[in-house]
């Protein structure tokens, strides 16, 4: 059972604005929007948060897999889905990608809950789209509505994003699109990058979603525990985790990367302290597929946000 925390120690009211975060982003040539919130009991008093572009709409990239996870768990709660049911994903039908089942050669058989795990832990495109197909886009949309995420709209999965890119560039295949996407000589414009047309959200909505998972509000306590475990199994060390170079902290989250978009939303929890949800959405100027400076800056920004929210004047 997740320990609850009250706001007795916290006396600050209103969101913190941290203009120095904007400087961090400018320094590495990205545009960034963030939100941070301390996850407390419902009756814990005023929200303690960091607000910097928190209500600006951003294209989600793989962060859409987080609402899919929640929708999956709610479908399990309602009995619509048996998480231990096995399913086989065949290479010709599944969505391609660099990680997990999406990157494999042969048929793969796994249970729905392990597909959910792979979708989150390694951002497995095949697992994600298989789950989305099984649950249905309507169920995901009902989930975001039910949880009050009014600034979030899920328009499809990775397969749909790839289709938009292929259609909008007029190139016949994904490999050619990705080559163009990663080339600094070209500006690639596509509906896939339009927050009005592609799956989009705001930093505030994502910290709210994480908070609902950590307070057992997103689904049943059992399923929320499952989600916290799965999010804790995410393997990526290069973004938010890179800001915390010590071991007494637990980080659970979901990255998202599409061309210049580099995101991560995560819950950072220090031992014996309330969990803190952080959402960092960035858009880089460079098209290069690997941008370590940007990833490190995301970690540094997350660390700044968490540090600001952890410190509080004692009453």
């Amino acid at each position: 059972m997740q320990p609850k925390h009250s706001s007795r120690r916290w006396t600050r009211t209103g969101p913190l604005r941290m203009p120095e975060l904007l400087a961090r982003f400018a320094q590495v040539g990205v545009r960034g929007r963030v939100h941070g919130r301390v996850i407390l009991d419902e009756d814990a008093g005023p929200e303690i948060s960091v607000d910097c572009g928190s209500d600006e709409r951003v294209v989600m990239a793989s962060v859409y897999k987080l609402p899919v996870l929640v929708a999956f768990c709610r479908a399990v709660d309602s009995g619509a889905l048996d998480p231990s049911e096995s399913v086989t994903l065949c290479p010709q039908d599944r969505t391609p990608g660099a990680t997990g089942i999406a990157a494999m050669t042969d048929n793969v058989t796994a249970t729905w809950r392990d597909l959910a795990r792979s979708m989150i832990a390694v951002s497995d495109n095949a697992a994600g789209d298989a789950l989305l197909d099984r649950i249905g886009l309507d169920q995901v949309r009902r989930t975001t509505d039910a949880l009050g995420l009014t600034a979030t709209s899920i328009e499809g999965g990775t397969r749909d994003v790839y289709k938009l890119l292929i259609d909008d560039t007029g190139l016949g295949d994904l490999a050619s699109v990705l080559e163009l996407l990663n080339n600094n000589d070209y500006i690639l414009s596509s509906r896939a990058f339009d927050p009005l047309l592609a799956s989009s959200t705001t930093p505030r909505d994502m910290t709210a979603l994480l908070a609902s998972i950590w307070t057992d509000a997103a689904a049943s306590p059992g399923q929320c525990a499952f989600m916290r475990t799965v999010l804790g199994q995410q393997i990526w060390p290069h973004r938010i985790s890179s800001g915390f170079g010590y071991s007494s902290v637990h980080i659970a989250g979901k990255t998202g990367t599409l061309g210049p978009l580099r995101h991560e939303v995560a819950v950072v929890q220090h031992r014996h302290e309330p969990p803190i949800a952080v959402a960092v959405f960035t858009e880089a100027a460079r098209a290069d597929p690997s941008q370590p400076r940007v990833d490190a800056a995301i970690g540094a920004v997350a660390a700044d946000i968490v540090a600001a929210l952890r410190s509080s004047p004692e009453p």
């Binding site: 320094q27 590495v28 040539g29 545009r31 600094n184 000589d185 500006i187 100027a285 290069d288």
Partner: protein, 295 residues
């Protein structure tokens, strides 16, 4: 309710003394005029005009409000007049361009811009970061910035790719077929990183990818950079097509290697035809300097 519109109707009715004549004067038909006056009276809670067979006569309350209504309309006229003066005063289009845009190309750009309209074109040199901010703040109308740069909500053209040459000290040992590694055997002199951080990082990463290990060194401006080259302490990458100063030579780079990437940027909500035409002119002129495409 639009008070200005109501005031316009009321004053016309009073001055003409007749609904029909007032409607003619305003270029509307009588029904909307009557409705407009009625709406005004309802909003103000005051009867302004008595309607009779003979026409319209102003009430006591209407007479009391008439001077203020006239003042309101006079105020509107003044605002419109001042705005027109301000836009008429804008004689020139303000363009910001980065220092790495060669002077000869900059003058060609300004000439092409000026040819598109009666407005003068004022060119200011600034960093990519500063140009983007200034356009957002309306201190500039257009910009030629280095790519890749964050342009915020501005609209950017496609990338114009200009070939660069390596500026080295003139020396009998230099051969036109020299390898890039032997050419870049000193740090590349660059402007301060903060002016265009992504461009700077891309250059450093590209040099490393090419196996060039001397990196970059920061200089404040072009002359300082050339001074370092002439004393053989640095190299400069330049898109300037003309002959470099005495004591220096410019050596071609392989096609597509270390180009200068530029974009023309403007505000998204820019509606001034002159500015939009100038932006088009800038882009097409830049394109004429583009390195020849691969077959």
């Amino acid at each position: 309710m639009n008070l200005l519109r109501g005031a316009r109707f009321f004053v016309a009715i009073v001055e003409e003394g007749h609904f029909g004549h007032a409607a003619d004067r305003l270029g509307v038909t009588q029904p909307p005029l009557s409705q407009g006056l009625k709406r005004l009276e309802e909003t103000l809670g005051v009867r302004l005009v008595d309607r009779s067979r003979q026409g319209a006569s102003v009430t006591e309350a209407g007479a009391a409000l008439l001077p203020s209504m006239r003042a309101l309309l006079a105020g509107e006229t003044e605002v419109l007049r001042m705005a027109e003066e301000l836009t008429a005063d804008r004689q020139d289009i303000q363009v910001g361009a980065v220092e790495t845009l060669p002077a000869s190309i900059a003058t060609a750009l300004v000439a092409s811009c000026a040819a598109t309209s009666a407005h003068d074109v004022m060119l200011r040199t600034a960093t990519s970061t500063a140009i983007v901010e200034d356009i957002q703040r309306q201190h500039l109308d257009l910009g030629v910035v280095e790519h890749p740069s964050i342009i915020g909500d501005l609209v950017g053209s496609d990338v114009a790719i200009l070939a660069q040459r390596v500026i080295c000290p003139a020396s009998p040992q230099r051969s036109p077929t020299e390898s890039i590694h032997s050419l870049l055997d000193r740090p590349v002199a660059t402007r301060p990183r903060a002016g265009a951080p992504a461009v700077h990082d891309l250059l450093e990463d590209t040099l490393r990818a090419l196996g060039i290990k001397h990196g970059t060194t920061t200089v404040p401006d072009e002359r300082a950079a050339l001074a370092l080259v002439v004393t053989d302490r640095a190299r400069v990458l330049s898109a300037e097509p003309s002959t470099p100063p005495d004591g220096l030579i410019a050596v071609d780079l392989p096609r597509g290697v270390l180009p200068l990437r530029l974009r023309v940027v403007r505000r998204r909500d820019e509606h001034d035809r002159a500015v939009l035409n100038a932006a088009e002119a800038l882009k097409s002129t830049l394109d004429t300097y583009r390195a020849a495409e691969d077959a």
